[in-house]
């Protein structure tokens, strides 16, 4: 066997965003230990500057339509990958800005915090480009390692330690499942690249293998029944880390899920629709119902996140280009609304040192801006028009209706009503209940930037979604050939009438 290894300039160009970020995170780490006196806030802004450069680079990729594959098709740059990279980098920028106040509370290792965030972002960027199962495994683990440490970052806080422990044990367990699944798929096909393993016949080894891979990715996105780490980890982790964890890795995992289901498994759609419909129904219902019983806002958002993932899975279950569009668009709306909501939780937590929903009583009196922003974010998460979340849900439902997934849509709609209840409980506490301590709350400039960004995104995507829709439609162009209306719907979701 012979290989030649050549890397042309064009090849290197494809790696440019990742290389930039790698260099930049080295710079951040070096500055942290080489200049111990440097205020650590500067590192945050330095990181943001670097990420802004990467973002500019990615936007250029997107506009210029630069694409290609590298390393024997392991690494792909196409518009889908670029979309997810922009998603991840954007999230990271906002998370870092939202972290500045919080990080001041740390006693040790303030600088490393930013380094680890950047490193996780780098891992997730690679995830977005993963085009075979080997790179799925490596990049998934790469991005998760940073999170293991970040979740347990509050060294003296028992909850943070415990959250780190649970995340770690379940995470490596999922990694074990993933690796074994990949080995089975390799055993059946002898290949690892997504487009090569699109085998024509489903053998049990392949089924078990893909199910194990799905279990690991389901763990990553927090879909029932692989969700159990989510509430505890979200609850115990430092809040900015929770915010990061609730958005970016899910986006990156969806990049992989979309490629896996739409490319490798396109031929088996009737078989996997059942799986996704089940996971979606369970996630929505379980997340929403249990969220009602929560008293901690982070746990509430954790369960609501499980339910939101259920909604996104509807788009995956649709299995069409429009379903893909809907997933991407929904993720965008979820980014702004969820990150915005967490930004409020971080801000309030910094000020009053509590994440209990009880302590949001009368927030409107203490800070009308925070209360209003939270209202917008929660209503967007609940899918109230004309906010972004409504368009996201509508898009998903319309994609599903074209595929005849009526049962799923009905369950989704009922779940919207249920979810309304617990979002409104928070709103009611903020607006109607009396505060125990009426002193006004003010927030710092970087925090304000994050909240404003969330508000702007939530409103803009709701009122004028067209540019974003054009963007996501372009990002999924490669799936235009996917099966149209309900080619062969499985028995569970019979179309009604016709």
């Amino acid at each position: 066997m012979t290989f030649t290894l050549t890397l042309s300039g064009a090849d290197l160009l494809l790696l440019l965003p990742e290389m930039l970020l790698t260099v930049w995170l080295c710079v951040v780490l070096t500055m942290d230990f080489a200049m111990p006196r440097l205020p650590k806030d500067r590192l945050a802004y330095l990181s943001v500057a670097g990420l802004a450069g990467v973002l500019a680079n990615l936007v250029w990729f997107d506009l210029a339509g630069i694409g290609g594959t590298l390393f024997a098709h392991m690494f792909v740059v196409d518009r889908l990958a670029v979309f997810f990279k922009i998603f991840i980098v954007g999230t990271t920028i906002l998370v870092i800005l939202a972290s500045v106040d919080y990080v001041r509370r740390f006693r040790f290792f303030k600088g490393e915090y930013y380094f680890l965030v950047l490193m996780s972002a780098l891992g997730m960027m690679f995830m977005a480009s993963a085009n075979d199962l080997l790179s799925v495994f490596i990049t998934l683990e790469f991005s998760t390692f940073g999170f293991y440490v970040l979740v347990a970052y509050l060294r003296d806080d028992v909850a943070s330690n415990e959250a780190g422990l649970k995340f770690f044990i379940l995470g490596v367990f999922a990694a074990g499942l993933l690796a074994y699944g990949i080995s089975l798929v390799y055993g059946e096909t002898g290949k690892l690249v997504f487009s090569d393993i699109a085998s024509p016949s489903a053998t049990p080894g392949l089924v078990i293998g893909f199910l194990l891979i799905f279990a690991a990715l389901g763990f990553k996105i927090g879909a029932v029944p692989f969700h159990s780490w989510i509430p505890d980890t979200y609850h115990g982790a430092p809040t900015p880390v929770t915010a990061f964890l609730s958005i970016a890795p899910k986006g990156a995992a969806f990049a992989i899920l979309i490629r896996m289901f739409f490319v490798s498994l396109a031929a088996f759609k009737p078989a996997w629709v059942l799986l996704l419909v089940g996971a979606s129904i369970l996630s929505m219902t379980y997340g929403n119902i249990v969220a009602i019983a929560q008293r901690n806002i982070k746990r509430l958002l954790a369960y609501s996140g499980i339910a939101q993932i259920g909604n996104i899975l509807i788009g995956l279950a649709a299995g069409t280009k429009m379903g893909g569009d809907a997933i991407l668009f929904y993720l965008l709306t979820y980014l702004f609304a969820n990150l915005g909501a967490f930004a409020i939780v971080i801000a309030v937590g910094n000020l009053i040192r509590s994440d209990e929903i009880e302590d949001y009583n009368g927030l409107n009196r203490r800070s009308p801006f925070l209360a209003f922003a939270m209202l917008v974010f929660l209503l967007s998460l609940a899918g109230v028009p004309p906010l972004a979340g409504f368009i996201g849900k509508l898009y998903i439902f319309l994609a599903a209706i074209d595929e005849g997934l009526y049962t799923l849509i009905a369950v989704g709609l009922i779940n919207i009503v249920i979810s309304m209840y617990y979002y409104l409980v928070v709103v009611k506490k903020m607006y109607i209940n009396e505060p125990t301590d009426p002193s006004p709350l003010t927030i710092s400039p970087p925090m304000k930037v994050v909240v404003y960004a969330g508000l702007a995104g939530t409103l803009f995507l709701g009122i004028y979604p067209q540019p974003a829709i054009n963007w996501v439609v372009a990002a999924t162009l490669m799936f235009s050939n996917l099966a149209g209306p309900a080619a062969a719907a499985p028995t569970l979701v019979l179309p009604i009438g016709g």
């Binding site: 415990e162 690796a179 990949i182 080995s183 390799y186 509430p231």
Partner: protein, 100 residues
């Protein structure tokens, strides 16, 4: 020559041992070791298949799996030390502050 299926059965045994270990052992370090067993089952599979297909990809995967396993151990040990400091215990069922 040993048939491929022997390797596969061995790897299944090792994998299931790992899974069961994760599920029933209380000591976090042993849980970590069980996860390593799961990854090693993967490695057995990959090497066997790689030989069977005469295809190097599987062996490449093994290299990376080993690296990932090492990194897992390192991060895991760090977390375990932090836990031990706060609770003086590394029994997994003593950490159930966060629930419901």
């Amino acid at each position: 020559m040993v048939p491929l299926s022997y390797y596969v059965i061995l790897s299944v045994i090792v994998f299931v041992t790992g899974v069961v270990g994760v599920l029933i052992r209380r000591n976090i370090i042993i849980i970590l070791l069980s996860v390593e067993l799961m990854l090693n089952a993967t490695n057995i599979n990959f090497v066997a298949y790689s030989y069977y297909f005469q295809n190097i990809t599987g062996q490449v995967f093994v290299f990376f799996a080993l690296t990932v396993a090492a990194a897992e151990v390192a991060v895991g040990l760090a977390i375990i030390i932090a836990l031990y400091r706060s609770k003086s215990s590394i029994n997994v069922d003593e950490f159930q502050l966060l629930k419901w």
